[in-house]
């Protein structure tokens, strides 16, 4: 007998300049998670201890926009290693709330938080080489890599994420109908 189950798809996920809310929505598929695990395995993700993306990932899911050099590095790694890349949520798609800082020069914001903020013992701007370089502005991820699918929402619902993944697993072009497609 030589029956092998179909290969599980490898899914990698990351949260860049986001709030983790899209990952929470992913988990809001609730007990459907166990059905999903019949068909996928997690690669690099905040849910696992795999720290870098394997070269043969099928699906990459990216939450959050780009606010520093490390975000850019991780995003490029995802694009390189994943066959299909999905931008999930407002921040990945258009910068989201963190992009509210885009009309302000960085030094002004730094000054506020690290020098004039109340209750500070010392004014000092963190500048250690271990801290990744910040970008002047927050960027959506499609400005840096090609994105295959976008799931809008802040965050999208668990049902919307479930629908997209089910479509992909079934080999269908993903579609979000009325009720699943929303931007708030």
């Amino acid at each position: 007998m030589n029956t092998t189950a179909p290969r599980k798809l490898k899914v990698a996920t990351t949260s860049l300049a986001g709030c983790f809310g899209c990952h929470m929505s992913f988990l809001d598929i609730d007990e459907r998670l166990f059905a999903l695990l019949e068909h996928i395995e997690f690669d690099r993700s905040p849910l696992t201890d795999i720290k870098s993306v394997s070269p043969d990932c099928d699906i990459g899911i990216v939450e959050g926009g780009l606010c520093n050099a490390e975000n850019v590095h991780v995003l490029r790694e995802f694009r390189k290693q994943c066959k299909v890349l999905i931008a999930i949520g407002a921040c990945a798609i258009n910068g989201g709330l963190p992009a509210q800082r885009n009309h302000l020069p960085l030094p002004v914001i730094l000054e506020e938080v690290y020098h004039t903020s109340p209750g500070l013992a010392n004014g000092l701007i963190p500048n250690d080489p271990e801290l990744p370089l910040p970008l002047n502005q927050v960027h959506p991820i499609h400005e840096v890599v090609k994105v295959d699918y976008f799931i809008p929402g802040c965050p999208p619902s668990g049902d919307a994420i479930w629908k997209v993944l089910s479509d992909l697993l079934a080999g269908r072009e993903p579609e979000l109908g009325h009720g699943l497609l929303h931007y708030d």
């Binding site: 983790f20 929470m24 609730d30 166990f34 720290k51 903020s117 109340p118 708030d184």
Partner: protein
């Protein structure tokens, strides 16, 4: 003992090992270790590497947008930020006392969040370490491994969290980033159908929460040598304490105790928080380091969160959780327990208390009331403090006569634990890594210590930093998008 291993004397001569990213925690962080040729550890730091600038970009926004905006600090505990901001802005609109319906609906929302966040942290993020061992096989150390080997535990974890999320959905309109609370009250009561739906499951949820306390208690008791000593350091504790010294996640006064349980301050009106707490900035992390002014930097830092709350309160006002609290206090033997891994035990006691409180609230007809909003004399400043899942959370705003925010100051729960988490990982590095060949399993020990605090590193990155370098960002077509900031 504090500050040992924070800064090596000659970093340039040492080898760097990084844990990047720290995983199975919420948000972004990394740990760096500096070791010499004999693998002796000279420096250990938990760095918060991201920044978003909330405190600045909220300025200039109309104040009524704030509770909805600041939720976006964090997707795991958005309700905490939502409610802390709403509490601060209650003061701005002159709502000194909310209606019973509004306050109880906010409490329901908040305790629903406690339930889902604690369940998520314990089952989805930490249980692999606790069930399989700290240096078990890396591919197994996740919720998938738990689902394979302990399907019942994994299923309950998912359903406990689901219930908490549903409580949030019916009180705020959405599971993540809803709009339930507004300055002066809430914008929606519960319907009978929504209440009955939750009532149907709540008894099961309470029972499973009790089982969760017993599960972690059993794990703790099986290896007390490890669980009582891993990453241990002594420190002060701080939390809000409610009426009559009750454990209260939504409202109260500030209480701080020293490492022996002796009062440092008590009954403090949280609007005066800045008289008691000061923050220090260190160049290697975007997260500030708070401490009690009275005790200074060296001795004034503290722990917040479940371990602080359960030991700081005089009693828990629900019967099952109170029984578990007494067992915990007996086990600690009359003085505070400082072991970071004891956070897990106290977190599950809190989850049980959240479930019981939800049960009590669901039997209260005030939830179905229609008097939702109050207002009074307009003010220009407000402070809102709440016990978020991870500890005491401070929101402070000033608003001008055009209703625009002019100042925002946030001390998020995880920031309060900044020094404590650094102390814990230094202790683990000294005890387990010092002089040994570094393996993946040993490095996970460091992460186990961090996870005990359930840090929310998304919350912790609301501040902004700058770098003294320039780098170019090139887009997919090779075009230069822009350069990075120069410091």
């Amino acid at each position: 003992m504090s500050y040992q291993l924070e800064t090596a004397a000659h970093p340039e001569t040492l080898r760097r090992v990084a844990i990047d990213p720290v995983s199975r925690v919420e948000g972004h962080g990394k740990v760096t270790l500096l070791l010499d040729e004999q693998n002796k550890v000279h420096q250990v730091r938990l760095h918060i590497v991201e920044f978003r600038g909330f405190e600045k970009f909220i300025q200039g926004r109309p104040y009524w947008e704030v509770p909805v905006m600041v939720q976006r600090l964090c997707g795991i505990c958005p309700v905490s930020h939502h409610l802390a901001a709403a509490k601060a802005l209650d003061q701005v609109v002159g709502a000194r006392q909310l209606t019973p319906t509004a306050e109880k609906l906010r409490r329901l929302m908040h305790y629903g969040q406690m339930l889902q966040s604690h369940a998520l942290h314990f089952f989805h993020l930490c249980s692999p370490d606790l069930l399989f061992g700290f240096d078990s096989e890396v591919t197994r150390r996740n919720i998938v491994g738990v689902a394979q080997e302990h399907p019942e535990i994994a299923k309950r974890g998912v359903l406990l969290r689901k219930f908490g999320q549903e409580v949030i959905r019916v009180t705020s309109g959405k599971r993540v980033h809803g709009t339930g609370a507004v300055p002066g009250g809430v914008n929606k009561a519960l319907t009978v159908a929504e209440r009955d739906e939750l009532l149907r499951d709540i008894y099961q949820i309470v029972a499973w929460s009790r089982d969760a306390v017993h599960l972690i208690q059993k794990v703790h008791m099986q290896d007390p040598g490890l669980y009582n000593s891993f990453g241990i350091f002594r420190s002060n504790f701080m939390s809000l304490v409610g009426h009559n010294g009750d454990l209260d996640f939504y409202h109260g006064t500030l209480r701080a105790r020293d490492d022996n349980g002796k009062a440092i301050f008590d009954g403090v009106d949280y609007c005066q928080y800045d008289r008691y707490i000061e923050e220090e900035v260190k160049p290697w992390s975007y997260m500030k380091f708070p401490y009690f002014r009275a005790l200074g930097k060296e001795h004034g830092w503290y722990k917040v969160g479940p371990l602080a709350r359960v030991q700081n309160c005089d009693q828990i006002p629900t019967p099952f959780a109170e029984r578990e609290r007494k067992e915990f206090v007996d086990y600690a033997g009359g003085s505070p327990l400082h072991a970071p891994l004891a956070y897990h035990w106290t977190r599950m006691i809190e989850m049980l208390h959240a479930a019981e409180t939800i049960k009590d609230l669901l039997h209260d007809d005030d939830l179905l009331g229609d008097h939702l909003l109050v207002e009074g004399p307009r003010a220009f400043e407000g402070v809102g403090v709440i016990e978020a899942p991870r500890g005491t959370l401070f929101h402070h705003y000033r608003v001008d006569e055009n209703d625009l925010v002019t100042m925002a100051n946030l001390i998020v729960s995880t920031t309060n634990n900044n020094q404590a988490m650094n102390e814990a990982i230094r202790h683990v590095a000294r005890r387990y890594l010092h002089g040994r060949e570094i393996t993946e399993g040993l490095l996970n020990h460091i992460e186990v210590a961090i996870r005990a605090f359930d840090p929310c590193l998304s919350c912790a990155t609301h501040a902004l930093g700058k770098m003294p370098l320039e780098v170019e960002l090139i887009d997919a077509d090779g075009e230069r998008v822009h350069a990075l900031a120069r410091g």
